[in-house]
Symmetry: C3
């Protein structure tokens, strides 16, 4: 696909400065990108600007200044300045690579129960099984090898990538994206002990995933014992994340890879949980809390706090503790010195 840079500028509601050019795609700054447009999203990219081959740049307004302008002009680089650089990135990608998935078919190898209800323009790939009394709403895409258990609801425009497993009684909202290998609705880890033997508590609850949620690859979201495990609207979850039974996650929360949340914990809205963080069960994390990478959260956290470390503490306090530990050698020396003097 070849387009005029000026057409992309129009698409981005920006203005092209310099010569118009034909470009063939969007690329990272430091690659063989002579005939591609690049985006300047970070200051450090500008620091190495001499290594950029592309002559077609989109520059974040925050990073644009006279010095850069001078450089662009003298190097005869065609450019446009945009207010929202990441939005421009998305729009540029979509301009070159429009989402062309328009197949509407049920593969002949897919097994769809006669009592399942399939909407319009639905794609169901090879080797899928859709069990009875499950409904799949319009424009959903269920890729190769997925299993959807009975009594489930799959919303409009949902994308399940290959080899996703959805246990019975699961509800998935509109426009949810789930990557490969993820398991939704397996039994929670619930046992009681009797004479040293662990006896399983059957799990009859469900998982509810609200609209616009995205879940990465090889995640596990356990269903509730009696009630529900719920992930609210707009929350995004990275790969290999564990969400235990009866957890409730608020709206527009971000959970990075390999984080884990134990049973019955409630997470607020707009929370950020960094990679490999762990959160114990039966606590409450307030809205807009930020939890650092590898943090171990062992108690409830109030709205707006930032925590880190194990056990997780307010981040500035955790940093102070680190600084305090660094002081111990000085303390030891001072004590030693005094002893010497005393002697």
């Amino acid at each position: 696909m070849s387009i005029y840079l000026s057409d992309l500028a129009k698409h981005l509601h920006s203005t092209l400065l310099g010569d118009d050019r034909i470009i063939k795609g969007v690329a990272e700054p430091f690659t063989k990108n002579d005939d591609q447009v690049i985006l300047i999203l970070e200051k450090k990219t500008i620091n190495k600007k001499d290594r950029i081959r592309s002559k077609a740049w989109i520059v974040a307004r925050l990073l644009f200044n006279d010095q850069l302008k001078h450089f662009l002009t003298s190097e005869r680089i065609s450019y446009m300045v945009v207010d929202q650089a990441y939005e421009a990135l998305r729009q540029t990608i979509e301009f070159f690579y429009p989402n062309e998935f328009t197949e509407q078919a049920i593969h002949h190898t897919a097994i769809v129960h006669p009592e399942a209800k399939i909407g319009e323009k639905v794609f169901i790939g090879a080797f899928c099984e859709i069990e009875k009394k499950t409904s799949i709403d319009d424009s959903a895409v269920i890729a190769k090898g997925c299993f959807i258990g009975q009594n489930s609801k799959i919303g409009r425009g949902v994308h399940l990538d290959p080899n996703v497993t959805v246990y019975p009684n699961t509800e998935i909202g509109n426009n949810v994206i789930i990557h490969s290998g993820t398991v939704i609705g397996s039994d929670g880890f619930g046992f009681y002990s009797k004479e040293g033997v662990h006896i399983k508590i059957p799990h009859i609850g469900k998982v509810i995933i609200e609209d616009d949620v995205e879940i990465g690859a090889n995640c596990c979201i356990a269903r509730g014992t009696l009630g529900e495990t719920r992930i609210k609207k707009g929350t995004k979850i990275d790969n290999l994340v564990q969400i235990a039974h009866n957890v409730v996650i608020g709206e527009h929360t971000l959970i990075a890879a390999q984080a884990g949340i134990a049973g019955s914990t409630t997470i607020g809205d707009h929370v950020i949980i960094a990679g490999q963080a762990g959160i114990v069960g039966h606590i409450e994390i307030g809205n807009r809390v930020t939890i650092g990478a590898q943090a171990g959260v062992i108690g409830s956290i109030e709205e707006g706090q930032t925590v880190s470390g194990y056990p997780a503490r307010e981040h500035s306090e955790a940093m102070k503790r680190e600084a305090h530990i660094s002081q111990i050698p000085k303390i030891l020396e001072s004590i030693k010195a005094k002893k010497k003097r005393a002697e």
Copy 2:
């Protein structure tokens, strides 16, 4: 399903107090549960008892007292008191939702090698493959998309959920449950270096899973190099857990989500390993040891200890260290004050 509360009381070997009622299921305390029975398992539920809508309660004896009795009577709540509340929970769930899986069929798309030996009342779902010389004992359920490699043995009443992978030569005991996406018997991480290149040591060992084990979703259990990786009777493993090659795990041990155990380590009976804990290879963890969440265990642990932190220490000692660190500011002040006085 509608039943009389008095019938449930009989089933639980308890006595109904208050009016008999018709109930339609079992629910969590704080939901729309007007026509459902609830269980009071924790003190904190009683603290919010005014928010409970259900008029049919099952109360743990430990939590029952005159004050609660007075409340129940005055609110005209029908109730029964039980000695073993979690057992009552299990029995109540099973009363309402008896395990009705009674399909006995091999799906026409399943590929079962003619040299595989399939027992009676076995279910094999769509798109499964059972390789040669593998035996599947009576009443086993192999759900959609599972792979069972050659020379494996699957015990009586085993449940494999959809998309489980079992490598060749694996032995799975009776009544084992394995959730979706779990991989049993992949090669251990074994290499040796020769002139800077890592050369693979072929793995010809196996995985043996004894009776009554449950394994969560998306776990990995690697097979032994020459010998076996073994998980003993009654042990329960949560999601996303890593068990490396040649590990031996004792009986009735609990391993929470995202924990990892490195190669050739031996874990005792009745051990509890909390979430995201890591245990290095080639060590021994004694019986009844408890390992805290995110703990990093770098050496053998004797019977009965409770450890936490990184590197993992006896828990009370780990707590003391935390307290000691908190004292540093006081120490610094005291030194400062002395300096001032000296001046």
Copy 3:
């Protein structure tokens, strides 16, 4: 399979000492191995040598001495001494269990797009789907249930175990091994925020896996946003590892189970990353760096360093900090004592 120990000795370019024997396999030292050969790879095995039943030993030269020689002779154990013990282990295993996978077939249930290009002697298992414009080179083995998205390249002699998912546009080099459940090329975790809502940045990059890489089970390797995520030649990755978008991993690096590497980080050659370690995004890890288990790396690390702890520090420094913390009780006592004296 029964062979003469003398034949094995020849195969290993070693010399058999003691009687020739017929052996039927290779086993671990402490099992019922009367008719099998064992390898002595570690000193601690010698310490328990009286518990070994096998009379056919292969001994690492480093562990061999007069005392052991005396023992072997007096116990009438047949043995050979080898310079490279782990290489001998590999060669012995391969001697008994030659890799016999020679099936060359495309299973009749596999769906191979007419525009896919399949090499010679390729095996494609049941319920696989190979999309259009994908090429699979000679002698590749694609086991049951794999999905390979369009425009991908699978190299010569690649082994994909059952239920692996490969997203479109992925390049996999020669002799790569990927274990079950692993997902290659799912979208990176890339969003930008607009009025509190997270908006997805489409991912059009790819994953490139070079020759001789091995990847464990249930791993996730995300594709680049625009560019590539690359794993270079000879690198070996254990189970449940997370590799985020635009990460570059050098040659002959080892990554243990449950480690995670965040986006756009570059890892050098011959790096060792231990289990459950986490590495933040946008940093550089030099060649021959060693990162300890559960370490949390929050900044770039120069060539050759060994780091541990959270936040990760040079290992000897991290150890000193631990020792410093242990000194606090002594400090407190000394201050207390002084106070008493002062009083």
